[in-house]
């Protein structure tokens, strides 16, 4: 049925010339990358011209895309698809199943590990997104601060909760003697906003469980001993005043006011700009004490490429997408944006190796990239995170609720939400 529809809409070309529209994310580095790729493509393909138009930055990308699906103004290709929102796009009938395009799956599997591709398949078994880039969440730290308190800046070894907390207690310091900390070890965002949990509870949970996500079989799956350990870890962090219960609107890490920050590789460019002299180190998300030596998995903040159902030229759209994810462009993307494509053989490329040798912190992100998880594919995922976020705030940040109770309340709420969704 689907193929039939596609078959009907593709076909006639205007004067033998095809015109495609392509929406990249609107941040300046990605726009610059898209410009170069499109320019090269257009020069090589006079009959398939691509028009690039950055996704409006003023609102969230998901909101813009949903509105454009509703209004029938979708592009042919978009490379800023959040897998957490794909359920909604699919439900709305906005996306073309990539696996219906001849040869596409082979091409994608050549580039990306099978498990990663499988993880992005939708409930109906189809693949609606080409895995593109995954930015692993890790911990960046200020080597100078580590040196000052006697931690080894090159091998800090803060890989378990107790080691991390002990080091963090040292790093939180009152430098001017007024009785309050001037440098904090770490300052996770305390706001209730659902996606903030991508930077605290979620990567910690994924690491502690070696890759479990929040839901399983359409039900909440996080009310378990590991979930509790994660909740207690953050509770300790705030209770022992290693992390401030404050909202900050500036980059405290770049200003040297906190020693560690939980973030993705995209932050490197900004830190370099704001604090060019800072020596930055990188480490994995810590895990519970009894897990030493195990594989670390983290949240991957992936963004993928989708081809919209509205396209009149699915074949040409795929050809352009294929060009976008070619090795040559993946290498270019890594260097231009400091973000990491889902490509198996990336680090083996000699020019990439050389580049990563000069940028060891980025290199660590590249090595971590295959060991990431996205968020669950559910059209209620924002509500799920919202419910969890509320309990996290009460149990961990404010320390007013027993973590056990918080987790079971979150579980109850999430199951209610999932039941309501039709």
């Amino acid at each position: 049925m689907l193929l039939l529809q596609v078959g009907c809409t593709s076909g006639g070309k205007d004067n033998g010339k095809v015109e495609l529209t392509y929406w990249p994310a609107a941040n300046p580095v990605e726009v610059a990358f898209a410009k170069e790729v499109v320019k090269e493509w257009n020069a090589k393909h006079p009959n398939i011209q691509v028009k690039m138009q950055p996704l409006p930055a003023s609102r969230s990308a998901e909101e813009v895309l949903l509105t454009s699906i509703a209004g029938g103004t979708t592009p042919d290709v978009c490379s800023n698809i959040n897998p957490g929102a794909i359920g909604q796009f699919v439900e709305a009938g906005g996306l073309l199943p990539i696996d219906s395009i001849d040869g596409a799956m082979e091409e994608i599997l050549k580039r990306t590990p099978k498990e990663t591709v499988e993880a992005f398949k939708s409930k109906d078994g189809h693949l609606y997104q080409v895995p593109w880039k995954g930015n692993p969440i890790m911990i960046l730290y200020n080597k100078q601060h580590f040196r000052e308190v006697g931690l080894n800046p090159d091998q800090p070894g803060l890989d378990t909760y107790s080691k991390f907390l002990a080091a963090a207690r040292k790093l939180t310091r009152d430098t001017n003697g007024d009785g309050k900390p001037d440098i904090w070890a770490i300052a996770p965002n305390v706001e209730q906003t659902w996606w903030q949990r991508f930077f605290d509870f979620y990567p910690w949970y994924v690491a502690a469980t070696e890759g479990k996500t929040l839901l399983k079989g359409g039900k909440a799956d996080f009310n378990n001993p590991k979930g509790l350990q994660v909740m207690q870890f953050f509770r300790t962090l705030f209770r022992q005043k290693i992390a401030p219960q404050s909202t900050f609107k500036e980059n405290l890490f770049a200003q040297g006011k906190v020693s560690m920050v939980i973030t993705g590789p995209w932050a490197l460019a900004d830190i370099k700009k704001q604090a060019p002299k800072m020596e930055v180190g990188v480490m994995s998300i810590p895990v519970p004490d009894n897990m030493t030596g195990k594989l670390r998995i983290t949240y991957g903040d992936p963004k993928n490429i989708a081809i919209f159902r509205s396209t009149r030229y699915p074949k040409e759209a795929w050809e352009f997408t294929k060009f976008l994810i070619s090795k040559q462009n993946d290498v270019k993307f890594l260097k231009m944006t400091q973000q990491i494509p889902f490509r198996k053989d990336l680090a083996e490329d000699s020019s990439v190796q050389q580049y990563l040798d000069q940028n060891p912190v980025l290199g660590a992100f590249v090595r971590q990239a295959p060991y990431t998880r996205a968020i669950d594919d559910s059209d209620k995922i924002t509500d799920v995170f919202d419910a969890l976020s509320l309990e996290y705030q009460q149990a961990a940040v404010m320390g007013k609720k027993d973590p056990r109770k918080a987790l079971s309340d979150a579980e109850k709420k999430v199951n209610q939400i999932l039941q309501r969704s039709r």
């Binding site: 909101e63 949903l66 509105t67 699906i69 509703a70 909604q88 796009f89 439900e91 709305a92 009938g93 906005g94 007024d178 309050k180 900390p181 904090w184 305390v190 706001e191 209730q192 906003t193 659902w194 401030p244 219960q245 404050s246 909202t247 900050f248 609107k249 500036e250 006011k257 059209d379 209620k380 924002t382 509500d383 919202d386 509320l390 705030q393 009460q394 940040v397 404010m398 007013k400 039709r422």
Partner: protein, 287 residues
């Protein structure tokens, strides 16, 4: 006849505007309250009164309503008290009066987003200007935006600060319309300044007061920018306003039917409250 037709043509753009941008959305959202829609799905199933039932059993809706009322109860007296004092002061022949009038009006025309960011920094617990001053004075820092008790009062203060100038202008206009003879006559009868203020100024300001109370109540019910930027509705939903709850349902959960239902109920509440206020305050209005 010709003239009449020209008249219709002249009002046509406004009528079209009214129909397209006011009447249609209002009717559409009322219609939505009986449906389940995620903004993009081509199917919009009819669900009857399900959304209303859900609303009646939704603790979070009542919490957001209570939060909003708490905001209004702090915000309005604060705003009116300060605006009245400032308006009376600025009505005196002060030096640099024009400058002060401009200065107090500046926050009104400044973007709410900018002001929210500014105050979020000033009210930050560990890094903020205000806690810095408190600590210099030997006091403990206050978790202005990160405790359930303080978050809403802090937002009420920020909103009052932002809108103050607007209400000052209304009160100033009201003050200037009070005939000078009234004061002169009172003086001759031996009234003190305080007596003049409470017996003449306040009663004569009644129409302005009515306007300010109704406007700031409506404004209060529409609270959104400050909690959205400064607290995200937290901590623990203690600063979640009704409008923010609508926003969350509509654009985060994509539950348009339910969001429309809350919106409609909120509109009815505002209508009811405004009518009561008008009744109560109109009794003493002297025109």
């Amino acid at each position: 006849m010709k003239g009449k037709r020209a008249g219709y043509w002249l009002v046509l753009p406004y009528v079209v505007f009214l129909l397209v941008f006011m009447a249609y959305p209002v009717l559409f959202s009322v219609w939505l309250t009986f449906h389940d829609w995620n903004l993009v799905s081509p199917e919009i199933p009819f669900v009857g009164l399900e959304n209303y039932e859900r609303l009646l059993n939704d603790d979070l809706f009542f919490k957001s309503l209570w939060n909003t009322l708490r905001f209004i109860l702090i915000n309005i007296p604060l705003q009116i008290g300060l605006a009245l004092i400032l308006a009376v002061a600025l009505n005196q022949p002060l030096k640099g009066r024009g400058f002060f009038r401009g200065a107090y009006f500046l926050p009104v025309v400044t973007s709410g987003v900018v002001i929210s960011f500014l105050w979020a920094w000033m009210l930050s617990t560990d890094d903020g200007l205000i806690n810095g001053l408190l600590q210099k004075a030997g006091l403990h820092p206050v978790p202005w935006l990160t405790s359930e008790a303080w978050a809403m009062p802090s937002l009420a203060w920020v909103a009052a600060w932002k809108n103050l100038g607007y209400y000052v202008v209304i009160f100033l206009a009201g003050l200037q319309s009070i005939p000078k003879q009234l004061y002169e006559a009172a003086r001759i009868d031996g009234a003190t300044s305080l007596q003049c203020f409470f017996r003449i100024t306040i009663p004569m300001l009644n129409p302005a007061m009515l306007l300010v109370v109704i406007l700031s109540t409506i404004n209060g019910f529409q609270l959104f920018t400050e909690p959205y930027i400064m607290t995200g509705g937290g901590p623990a939903n203690s600063s979640l306003s009704v409008v923010m709850y609508i926003y969350k349902n509509a654009f985060q959960s994509l539950d348009m039917g339910y969001a429309a239902t809350i919106g409609l109920v909120l509109a009815l509440i505002i209508l009811g409250v405004s009518m009561i206020q008008k009744r109560l305050l109109e009794k003493d209005v002297t025109y």
